[in-house]
């Protein structure tokens, strides 16, 4: 499991697939999800295979999630905010 080397910092909460996730204020959704052990953030639109954050710098587009109903958002580029409702981007929702 991932660990945090320092315990300090303000904590905010958002939900991922309905589960409450704690994030440090100012960190990205992807970092908070990885810290919480959630490495799968989307399903491939081609095969449905699970995918997760790969580059953490906005390049690979593997961490696409749906945030408050808006699809195709990059979890590694968006700072977690209190109350966000985040869901995996599912293959059957984006293509038949």
């Amino acid at each position: 499991m991932p660990q945090r080397i320092d315990g300090s910092g303000e904590t905010i909460r958002f939900t991922f697939e309905g589960r409450e996730i704690a994030a440090r204020a100012g960190e990205t959704l992807a970092a908070a999800l990885i810290a919480a052990g959630e490495t799968t953030t989307r399903a491939s639109v081609v095969s449905g295979a699970p995918r997760g954050p790969y580059c953490m710098m906005g390049v690979c587009f593997e961490c696409l999630v749906e945030i408050d109903g808006v699809p195709n958002r990059q979890a590694c580029m968006i700072v977690a905010e209190p109350g966000m409702s985040v869901n995996r981007q599912k293959a059957d929702e984006v293509a038949a």
Binding site: M1, I5, T39, C55, C60, F61, M77
Partner: protein, 460 residues
């Protein structure tokens, strides 16, 4: 629309230093950067990391605080969270910030978008839990996140740096699986003498290797045929080394085969590029002041060829000096800076020879997925070539390779290498995808709202 003497895209060491120098020459300067805070990837979150984290990340990371401080004090306009999605031939820049698009015009454009990690296609590299080594570092820098079981796989200085940082944090990697062939050390050794002027890098390298040894991290050298196993997430990494097949169980694998210039903007602007055999990557063609073949478009930092953070800072300053000089402003002493840049670069031939990408990565097996977005395999690319598709753009049109949301960033170099090998030509001849806007995906509704500028700009 607002206009600036200089618009800089990217707030890493090159962009920040360029902005500081441009401002001190009296040039109106705007910096656009995707991240919420300056630093780029190398100095990610330098302004907010605490003393403890900085100590763990090492002295070179701390250097970023000085550069960022000067940048903040420079007077440059700075828009964080700005996603540049188009630049046209008149240097009009469209960017998205705060949920809507804005446009600015630049007399000179500085592309300071740095480097991305080289695509590393191998079996299982799309499984959740597999990341780049850079991603591991970013998680550490921004959130203090470490993994007790991470296995670092590949080659390059970053592999050793990440290992050292994780060791310092008390969470050493489970293993290092290095792909550098044994013979490479002999080949690279001939560059050793020439690298001595940059002895600090060599000393740092040896120190990192000693730290790994002292921490007792298992290092598997000359590894080949690497694969990541797992059903829905990564479960193990397997490889051949020491004459036998080996398997290490882990849920976290970090891959690295060096970094390469991020070409998206220079390709979009139709700047000339060349394939550099030593860096094994496409570089924009630049003059001694890092101006591209498109007048007024400069590349500062790793985007013009990998040189590292220190070089990026110096190159950023040099670019600003040249822009100031062209604008008739007082400019600093360029000759001395050029000499410094050259001295700093003395270590590159050694590093490039030693850490050249592994053969397995350049020539993946037919069944290995190369384009992650559209799930196109190396075999499909070779088949398209056999049918007569002459280059990357035809392969893209035919197979959809490079057509997904990453817009070819994660497969482009691998696709060019595979086509070049299949046709028996150099990547220079094969060339690369044409890059089309938007540079990053854009909401249709945001495009529809384009041009409805805010009153402040409309009044000008």
């Amino acid at each position: 629309m607002n206009g600036y003497d200089v618009v800089i895209v990217g707030a890493g060491p090159a962009g920040m230093a360029c902005a500081s120098e441009a401002c001190s020459a009296g040039l109106s300067t705007l910096v656009l950067d995707e991240q919420p805070r300056p630093g780029g990837q190398i100095f990610r979150d330098i302004e907010v990391s605490d003393r403890k984290r900085r100590a763990l990340l090492g002295k070179d990371y701390g250097e970023g605080a000085r550069i960022a401080g000067a940048f903040r004090a420079s007077g440059a306009e700075y828009v964080p969270g700005a996603v540049v999605w188009n630049i046209d031939s008149a240097k009009r820049i469209d960017y998205s910030a705060g949920g809507r698009s804005h446009s600015v015009e630049a007399k000179s454009l500085v592309v300071a978008t740095g480097a991305i990690e080289r695509p590393t296609p191998m079996p299982g590299w799309t499984l959740p839990g597999v990341t780049t080594v850079g991603a591991v570092q970013i998680l550490f820098k921004t959130s203090g996140i470490v993994f007790e079981d991470v296995v670092l796989v590949g080659s390059g200085p970053l592999l050793w740096l990440a290992a050292t940082q994780l060791i310092a944090a008390g969470s050493p990697p489970k293993a290092i699986v290095e792909t550098v062939p044994k013979a490479r050390y002999r080949e690279a050794a001939r560059h050793f003498g020439k690298a001595l002027p940059a002895w600090r890098y060599l000393a740092k390298g040896f120190a990192m290797m000693r730290a790994v040894k002292k921490a007792g991290v298992p290092v598997h050298r000359d590894a080949t045929d690497i694969a990541i196993e797992g059903e829905t997430v990564a479960a193990a990494v397997t490889f051949a080394a020491g004459g036998r097949r080996q398997r290490i169980e882990t849920a976290h694998v970090a891959l690295h085969q060096g970094v390469v210039p991020n070409q998206q903007i220079t390709r979009l602007l139709n700047c000339q590029h060349r394939f550099d055999e030593s860096q094994r990557a496409f570089l924009p063609v630049v003059d001694e002041s890092f101006e591209t073949s498109v007048p007024g478009v400069f590349v500062a930092g790793d985007g013009a060829g990998i040189g590292g953070a220190k070089s990026a800072e110096m190159r950023g300053r040099l670019v600003a000096m040249r822009i100031a000089e062209k604008a008739g402003r007082p400019a600093g002493e360029a000759a001395k800076l050029r000499a410094e840049i050259a001295k700093d670069a003395a270590v590159r031939p050694l590093l490039e020879a030693l850490y050249a990408p592994s053969a397995d990565i350049l020539s993946p097996a037919d069944t290995t997925m190369v384009c992650r977005c559209e799930e196109i395999t190396a075999g499909q690319i070779r088949e398209a070539v056999a049918l007569g598709a002459p280059g990357p753009n035809q392969v893209k049109s035919f197979l959809r390779a490079g057509m997904g949301p990453c817009q070819g960033r994660m497969c482009g170099l691998a696709v060019s290498e595979i086509i070049a090998a299949a046709k028996g030509e150099t990547p220079s001849t094969t060339d690369y995808y044409r890059i089309r806007p938007p540079l990053k995906p854009l909401l249709l509704s945001e495009l529809a709202g384009l041009g409805a500028e805010e009153p402040r700009e409309a009044a000008e």
